[in-house]
């Protein structure tokens, strides 16, 4: 009897998975592919940076030009990320919580910077703010500099990281629906109270991931910033541009040392992202396991209709 049962189970399993050798072969190919394309490049950054020892590594990072590049990158990021954070929340609130005409078109426009080449993005700002651009003469008359200066770098950074937070939040907020917010409003909460106490706790992990990804992309942007920066050493060089200059000057160890800072940033970003995802999953599972009689405003309408 028990033999028959295991045979049935085995046949049912065979229907939804492959033979063991196929499984191991596919896992093996995947791991080799990812090792070649992801692990090796990451490892190469650190080994190249430490090729001449720890001393040379830190010597390269102590250089004043490297410091000013770090400072400029931090400034540009510190302006670009909050700007896109506010925009991302506004856009997600308008698009996910309301129905209006042209919504699909607006969503497409929000995605637009994602598909524009960074070089083209930089060129756009040169044509608007550059010496012979739209506002060029006016800016020159008022002794303001945008292109080949910090404001241009900030603008280019804002453009390339424009959609990330909105893209992360829109599907999340759409999936959560409006029921909880509507209940809060009906019970007398103001719009701000509803946002801070109802919406924000629901989206916090998605928001964190959006911010951290925006941050990584802002610090690492190369193409767009390279067009508007003018590569003035010690003044308008961001970290990735500094990497390029050092590399082209055959200062390989210094180039990879600066690059390793950005690689560490990428690894930290991935770790925070994974932790945020696991926490979000755990919270969702915990919420799903709550007893149905718990008197939350959601369970009245949404869970009843979902079942």
């Amino acid at each position: 009897m028990s033999g028959g049962a295991t045979r049935v189970v085995r046949r049912a399993k065979a229907g939804t998975t492959e033979a063991a050798w196929v499984r191991y072969l596919l896992i093996g190919i995947t791991l080799v592919f990812l090792f070649l394309f992801l692990v090796l490049p990451l490892a190469a950054v650190f080994t190249e940076a430490l090729r001449k020892g720890v001393g040379a590594y830190f010597e390269a990072l102590k250089e004043p030009d490297a410091w000013s590049a770090i400072k400029l990158t931090l400034i540009a990021t510190a302006i670009a990320v909050p700007l896109n954070l506010v925009f991302g929340i506004c856009a997600a609130w308008a698009i996910a919580k309301f129905e209006f005409r042209g919504k699909a078109f607006l969503t497409t426009l929000v995605d637009l910077p994602f598909s524009v080449s960074p070089v083209v993005a930089g060129l756009m700002y040169v044509l608007v703010f550059g010496a012979n651009g739209w506002f060029g003469p006016w800016l020159q008359a008022h002794d303001l500099k945008v292109i080949f200066a910090v404001p241009g770098i900030v603008l280019a950074t804002v453009f390339v990281t424009f959609p990330f937070i909105a893209r992360e939040l829109i599907p999340l907020m759409q999936a959560q629906g409006n029921d909880e917010e509507q209940a809060a409003i009906v019970l007398g909460a103001t719009g701000w109270q509803t946002f801070w106490r109802v919406t924000l706790p629901n989206i916090k992990w998605g928001l964190l991931y959006g911010v951290i990804l925006t941050n990584a992309r802002a610090m690492g942007e190369f193409g767009a910033v390279s067009v508007v920066s003018g590569h003035i050493r010690g003044q308008t060089n961001t970290l990735p541009l500094h990497v390029e200059i050092l590399y082209n000057e055959y200062q390989s160890v210094a180039a990879f040392a600066v690059a390793s800072l950005l690689a560490i940033l990428a690894v930290v970003t991935l770790i925070i992202k994974s932790v945020a995802e696991w926490r979000q999953e755990r919270e969702q599972r915990a919420a799903a396991e709550l007893p149905p009689e718990r008197p939350t405003p959601v369970s009245t309408s949404s869970s009843a209709s979902a079942g």
Binding site: A12, G15, T16, T17, L26, I27, T30, L31, L34, L36, L38, V39, P41, L42, E48, I89, C90, A94, K97, F98, E99, F100, L106, T108, L109, L112, P113, S115, V116, S117, P118, V119, V120, M124, V126, L127, G133, F159, E181, I185, T190, G191, W192, T194, F195, L213, A216, R217, M219, G220, F222, G223, P240, V243, A255, A259, A266, L270, I271, K273
Partner: protein, 290 residues
Amino acid sequence: MTAAQVAVAPEATARRSPRRVLPGFGLTLGYTLFYLSVIVLIPLSALFLRTFSLTLEQFWVAVTSPRVMASYRLTFGASLFAAVVNLVFGLLVAWVLVRYKFPGKKIVDALVDLPFALPTAVAGISLTALLAGNGWLGQYLEPMGIKLAFTPAGVVIALIFIGLPFVVRTVQPVLEDAEKELEEAATSLGATRLQIFTKVILPHILPALMTGFAMAFARAIGEYGSVIFIAGNMPMVSEITPLIIIGKLEQYDYAGATAVAVVMLVISFVLLLVINALQAWQRRRTGSVS
């Protein structure tokens, strides 16, 4: 602080839809449109308007000169090649991550996003260091006559790296939601595992697969940072289109740079529309299945 919100929202609510309970529609949509215009739409229109400083003939000459044509061939050819590789391996990675258990799976899953997080310039110099004649991989490949760094093949390698997460991340959730009951039903009706894959699973994930492919392709066409280090940048051979734009800018040929940029922009718009259509298809498909 809520004054603006209160002033705008009820009016908009009353006019457009009586069922709108939540506040903040006017404020958030207004700010979204304002920010979108300042950062994206006005600079974009500057680019298009600038091309009117050229006559049609000048424009045509600028975007079809032999060196530019060679760069289109390289950019589109390498991007297509890389996107196809990503299609195949992206599906494989997504499949293995969703269906199989193995040690270190969570780390592998997290690592897939590395190309999103690693700055392109870092990826570029690192891949170059690996594949150059004295690099970890190059030292074995070059004696065999395989030269990857500073050739068009190097461009493809960099673009595979850049586009790797797209197919994985679009296919993975769809594969997770796929109903195993369908596969069980197919098995009990006598289908082989391969038949089930091609006739049950593949149609279900096809829209997501194509979306990921189109995204990887779109990203590859515009890519600059990772490619220029490994490409060698020889005119007519390994010079990508974004580099043509930079070259023209450095010679103060703003009109020429703009003309080529407009060609690239139009192509990215078309790709964006294709991606949107694919995503709508996917929503219909998954909506009808479940």
